[in-house]
């Protein structure tokens, strides 16, 4: 029986250092420590984490570690975190890997939220900028197109008083009572009673 090809992240890598130490609970191919170099290496699936997220997480580690990024031929990101002072223990390197992974997840999630809310952010920013520009000048008002409909009114409820109750001159000429006339007559009858 033929087994399906394993995903890239589970493939065995042949370029692990000879003295690579594994982290408990983490497959060697995903993360391992190199104690002679005081460094830890992670392999990240680019389908899960974008380069921007990797940049974001890396940037927060620049003050603590030497961070080096690379890309494998399979398209994975390889992150190397080396302690600034040599002689780091495996526990310290494990902390680096764990904290980096958490930060990476936070960056990836933030990126997704930002993308989802981009429209709202742009609208709010535009309103804030328009407000900061101050009231329009007379020239701006002169050029403004007031004939444009302010908003859609499919139910026809946004009518002006004149449109709704005003006398329809065209109908009056023809001698037909308009809707406005009926209502005016009803109002005068009420007053008389």
């Amino acid at each position: 029986m033929a087994y399906p090809e394993p995903p890239i992240s589970m493939k065995q890598s042949n370029d692990l250092p000879k003295d690579a130490a594994s982290f408990r609970g983490v497959p060697d191919v995903l993360a391992h420590a190199d104690l002679t170099e005081s460094s830890a290496e992670l392999l990240l699936d680019s389908a899960l984490y974008s380069l921007e997220a990797v940049y974001g997480a890396s940037f927060t580690f620049i003050d603590r570690c030497f961070v080096f990024l690379d890309k494998t031929p399979e398209g994975q990101f390889r992150v190397t975190l080396a302690a600034k002072k040599p002689g780091a223990t495996q526990e310290q390197l494990r902390d680096f890997v764990g904290e980096f992974s958490n930060e990476l997840l936070a960056c990836a999630w933030r990126e997704k939220i930002t993308a989802q809310n981009r429209g709202a952010i742009e609208a709010v920013t535009m309103q804030a900028l328009a407000g900061a520009m101050g009231p329009p000048s007379l020239d701006d008002l002169e050029d403004f197109d007031f004939s444009e409909e302010p908003f859609e009114d499919p139910l026809g409820i946004a009518m002006s008083w004149e449109e709704k109750y005003g006398k329809d001159k065209a109908k009056r000429k023809e001698g037909e009572p308009s809707e406005g006339d009926d209502e005016a007559a009803a109002a005068s009858a009420k007053d008389g009673a």
Binding site: L51, Y55, F59, F66, L69, D70, K71, K84
Partner: protein
């Protein structure tokens, strides 16, 4: 001697050059291009110094790359 391989998709070439310019006075830095990578070979007085120089150079190039990508 140490070797750093900066992938073109990850590091901006101009920023790697800027980092090289800044750190060249701390050791001997030679550069070549191999496929997808800018390769930097670092030589200095001793292994510890080479390690630190390589780390600082990599951090600086990465920081500049991230900063310029954010600005663009």
């Amino acid at each position: 001697m140490r070797e750093l391989r900066f992938h073109r998709d990850v590091y901006a070439g101009e920023q790697v050059d800027a980092a090289l310019k800044l750190y060249e006075r701390f050791g001997t830095l030679s550069t070549t291009e191999e496929g997808e990578h800018f390769v930097v070979r670092i030589e200095s007085k001793n292994a510890a110094r080479e390690r630190r120089l390589a780390g600082e150079l990599a951090n600086y190039a990465l920081g500049l790359t991230i900063r310029t990508r954010g600005a663009s």
